[in-house]
C-alpha cells in the first residue's frame, strides 16, 4: 500500500483542460433544445460501438479516459448498455456484418439520443470505402449529429466532438466550459 501511495504522490495531478466545442464538426443541426443539451452536458452517458474499425480509433477513445484528458472528470462516462446511454460513439466504416447490430444498438437507446461518428472511416468510409462488405460512413446507416475526422482523431478532438454534440446551436463555438 505504501508503494502505491508513494507512486500516486510522486505523480500528482496531470489533467488538462478540454478544447472548446466546434460547430464545424456538426453533420446535422442540433436536434434538441438548449435545456435538454445543457442537462445532458453535465452527466452524459456514452455507449461506444465499433462498427468495423481497424481498432486505431478505439485506442484513442481509451485515451480519453487517461489522467491527461480525464473524460469522467467532465461528468461524461462510458456505459455498458445502450439502454443507459444518451450518446452513441461509432467508429469504423459500417461493415455489413455489423450493420444490424449497430441499428439495434441505436434503437435500444432512449430518446433524446445523440450520435457522434469517430474517425475518417466513420466520416466518409476512409481507406475501406463502400464495398461488397462495407456500407461506408456511419451516416449511411443511422443519423449522425457530429462527425470527427482523423486517422485516428486525437483524444482532444474526440472530446471536442462529444462536447460539440451536447452544446446548443447558440453556444456552439464557445461552449465546453
Amino acid at each position: 500500500m505504501y508503494k502505491i501511495l508513494l507512486q500516486i504522490a510522486r505523480t500528482g495531478i496531470c489533467t488538462e483542460k478540454p478544447r472548446f466545442a466546434d460547430g464545424t464538426l456538426r453533420a446535422l443541426a442540433p436536434r434538441f433544445s438548449e435545456d435538454v443539451l445543457a442537462l445532458l452536458g453535465r452527466a452524459l452517458a456514452i455507449r461506444h460501438v465499433d462498427a468495423g474499425s481497424c481498432n486505431g480509433c478505439e485506442l484513442e477513445i481509451h485515451a480519453t479516459n487517461n489522467p491527461y484528458y480525464n473524460l469522467e472528470g467532465l461528468g461524461i462516462k462510458f456505459v455498458a448498455s445502450p439502454r443507459h446511454a444518451d450518446m452513441l460513439l461509432v467508429t469504423g466504416p459500417v461493415s455489413r456484418n455489423m450493420e444490424e447490430a449497430l441499428r439495434r444498438t441505436y434503437e435500444a437507446m432512449p430518446e433524446p439520443k445523440l450520435v457522434v461518428a469517430i474517425g475518417d472511416c466513420g466520416c466518409d468510409g476512409g481507406v475501406f470505402g463502400e464495398t461488397y462488405a462495407s456500407r461506408g460512413r456511419v451516416a449511411n446507416v443511422i443519423p449522425v449529429d457530429v462527425a470527427v475526422p482523423g486517422c485516428p482523431p486525437e483524444p482532444a478532438a474526440i472530446i471536442q466532438g462529444i462536447l460539440t454534440a451536447v452544446s446548443a446551436a447558440s453556444r456552439a463555438g464557445a461552449a465546453g466550459e
Binding site: 507512486q7 465499433d50 481498432n55 486505431g56 484513442e60 485515451a63 479516459n65 469504423g92 444498438t105 462488405a133
Partner: protein, 512 residues
C-alpha cells in the same frame, strides 16, 4: 516438387505442388517442428484456368510458400486441419471468399459453416473472385449460425456480443457453463469483415502500403514493415542501414506503447485501477513523444516501401534517451507494485492457463507462445535486418497463465528500451528511402515481422502496371484466438475479461 528461392529480407522459398505433395509437405514440416503461418486462396482462372490454395509454412529454415493449383471443376483441396488445427478457420474464410473448399478424405468439409460471410452474402457467391466487382451489392444470405450445443444437467449458455460492454472490438462469445465454470467457449468472429483483400486489388502496390497499415491499427508499424518487406523483396530493393534502424526503432516503440496499454488494462480488470491510471499516463507520454518526433501518435504511414518517411535529429535522439531512462524507472516501480499486490496476484496466477503442449498443438505465436514456454520470435530467429545486429533477448515464462503474460510484457518493455538505446547509438548516416524499381507483373514477395502481438505475415503478388494482384495480410490473432477458447476452460466466467485482456487479440486483423 521444386523450390524456388524468393529474394528478400527473410529466407523464403516458393513451390507449386499437387494435392499429394501439399499434404506430404505439411506433414513433413509439422513433424520437424514447423507450423502453419497462413492459409488463403486465390482466383487464377485468368492464368492457369482454376483456383489456387496457398499455405505459408514456417520451418526452421525459413518460410515455404506452397501453391496448389486446383481446376475450377475440382471438388476442392486436401484439408490441413488434421495436421495444423489452426488451419480450420483460415480454410473456412478462404471458402467464403474464393469458393475453394478444403476436404477431408471422405469428400466432406471439416466445418461447413461460413466464417466471414455471416448474412452479408449468400453461400454460393465468393466476392474475392475476379468477376465480382469491389462494390458489388450482393444479395444478403441466411445469417443463422449453428453453435455447438453443450447438453447436460445444469448447463446453460451465456451469449456475449457482438457489441461488448466496453470500448472493444465486436465479436461473439458463446459460453456454455455450469454454475460459474466455463465448460466450453465458442467464438464467432468475422463481424468486422470489410473486404480488405478485395480492396487491395483495386490499388497500386504503392497505395497498398497505406491500407496495410490499417489492417489492425494497433499493429500499424508491423503491418507497414511486413508489407514493405514483401514489396521490396519482389522489387529487389534493400533499404539503407539508417532506414532499417529507424524501422526497428518504430517497431520497438509500437511494442512498448501497446504493452503499456495492456499492463494498465490487465491491472484494471484484475481490480487494481491505480495501475490503469499510471500505465495510461505513461502510454500517453509515450504517444506524445511519437507525435512530437515522428508526426503521428501511432506511427501510421511512417514506414513506406523503400525505407521510412521520418528521420531523427540530435535533439530527438536525446529526448528518446531521456524518455527511456525515465520510463525504465517508472516501470520498475510499477512492476514492484504489480508483483507485490496480493489481490492482483491472486487474480492472475493460475488464471487462464494455456499449457505449453496446447500452445504448440494450436500453433500459437507471439507473446502468448512465449508466456507458454515457447521461445519464438521472428526478430531473433530467423532474424531480419537490423535485428541481426541488435539481437533481442527473449522474454519467456513457463506457466502460461495471466501472470506469465504480465511478466513477459514487463520484460519485453525493458528489453525494447534497451534496444531503443542501442539503435540510437551511432545511428549511421544515409538515405531514408532507397530508389525503387517496380516489380514485374506476377512477381511474388513475402514479409515476416514480429509485431508486439506476434508475427505478422504478408504475401503479395504484383499485377500488371504495378498494381496489387493479390495480397494476403495475416494477423497472429488467427492462430491465437482458438487458444483463448482453451485457456478459459475450467475458469469462472468473471475471469474471462481478465484472461481475454491478457491475450489482447485483434478482431480487425483476422476479420479483414
Amino acid at each position: 516438387m521444386s523450390l524456388e528461392p524468393l529474394a528478400g529480407a527473410m529466407p523464403a522459398w516458393r513451390a507449386l505442388c499437387d494435392p499429394a505433395q501439399w499434404l506430404a509437405a505439411c506433414k513433413a514440416i509439422a513433424a520437424s517442428g514447423g507450423r502453419l503461418g497462413a492459409l488463403w486462396a486465390s482466383d487464377e482462372r485468368d492464368t492457369h484456368g482454376g483456383l489456387s490454395a496457398h499455405a505459408l509454412l514456417v520451418a526452421y529454415e525459413g518460410l515455404l510458400w506452397l501453391e496448389l493449383p486446383v481446376a475450377d471443376s475440382a471438388p476442392g483441396y486436401p484439408d490441413l486441419s488434421a495436421v495444423f488445427p489452426c488451419a480450420r478457420r483460415m480454410q473456412r474464410a478462404a471458402f467464403d471468399l474464393i469458393g475453394l473448399p478444403a476436404l477431408v478424405p471422405d469428400g466432406t468439409r471439416p466445418d461447413g459453416r461460413g466464417w466471414l460471410r455471416h448474412g452479408a452474402w449468400t453461400a454460393d457467391r465468393h466476392p474475392l473472385r475476379r468477376d465480382i466487382a469491389l462494390d458489388e451489392r450482393l444479395p444478403p444470405g441466411d445469417p443463422r449460425y449453428g453453435f455447438v450445443k453443450v447438453e447436460g444437467d445444469g448447463v446453460h449458455e451465456i451469449p456475449v456480443g457482438p457489441v461488448h460492454a466496453g470500448t472493444i472490438e465486436p465479436g461473439h462469445f458463446r459460453f456454455s457453463i455450469v454454475g460459474e465454470r466455463v465448460l466450453r467457449l465458442e467464438q464467432r468472429l468475422g463481424y468486422k469483415h470489410k473486404g480488405i483483400e478485395k480492396r487491395f486489388e483495386s490499388l497500386s502496390l504503392r497505395e497498398g502500403a497505406r491500407l496495410a497499415g490499417r489492417v489492425s491499427g494497433d499493429s500499424t508499424v508491423a503491418y507497414a514493415w511486413a508489407y514493405a518487406m514483401a514489396y521490396e523483396s519482389m522489387a529487389g530493393v534493400t533499404p539503407g542501414a539508417r532506414a532499417l534502424r529507424l524501422r526497428a526503432l518504430l517497431l520497438e516503440r509500437e511494442r512498448i506503447a501497446n504493452h503499456l496499454g495492456d499492463l494498465g488494462f490487465i491491472g484494471n480488470d484484475g481490480g487494481l485501477a491505480v495501475g490503469q491510471a499510471h500505465f495510461s499516463r505513461l502510454k500517453e507520454d509515450f504517444l506524445r513523444s511519437n507525435a512530437a518526433l515522428f508526426g503521428h501518435r501511432y506511427l501510421m504511414d511512417r514506414i513506406v516501401p523503400g525505407g521510412v518517411a521520418v528521420d531523427i535529429d540530435e535533439r530527438g535522439r536525446k529526448h528518446l534517451l531521456a524518455e527511456a531512462d525515465g520510463l525504465g524507472a517508472e516501470l520498475r516501480s510499477l512492476r514492484a507494485i504489480y508483483y507485490d499486490h496480493a489481490g492482483l496476484q491472486d487474480r492472475c496466477i493460475n488464471c487462464g492457463r494455456l499449457a505449453p503442449r496446447t500452445a504448440a498443438e494450436l500453433g500459437v505465436v507471439g507473446i502468448a507462445a512465449r508466456a507458454s514456454g515457447h521461445a519464438m520470435d521472428a526478430r531473433v530467429y530467423p532474424g531480419f535486418a537490423p535485428y541481426d545486429e541488435f539481437i533481442p533477448r527473449l522474454a519467456s515464462h513457463r506457466n502460461g497463465d495471466v501472470a506469465a503474460r504480465i511478466v513477459v510484457r514487463f520484460e519485453e518493455i525493458l528489453e525494447s528500451l534497451r534496444l531503443e538505446r542501442r539503435l540510437l547509438q551511432g545511428l549511421p548516416a544515409g538515405a531514408l528511402q532507397a530508389p525503387f524499381a517496380e516489380p514485374v507483373s506476377g512477381a511474388r514477395g513475402v514479409g515476416w515481422v514480429e509485431g508486439w502481438r506476434g508475427e505478422v505475415l504478408v504475401a503479395l503478388q504484383a499485377g500488371a502496371g504495378s498494381r496489387v494482384r493479390r495480397c494476403h495480410p495475416h494477423d497472429p490473432s488467427w492462430q491465437n484466438w482458438p487458444a483463448l477458447e482453451h485457456a478459459v476452460l475450467g475458469n469462472i466466467v468473471p475471469d474471462f475479461p481478465l484472461i481475454n485482456k491478457s491475450f489482447n487479440l485483434s478482431y480487425a486483423g483476422a476479420d479483414l
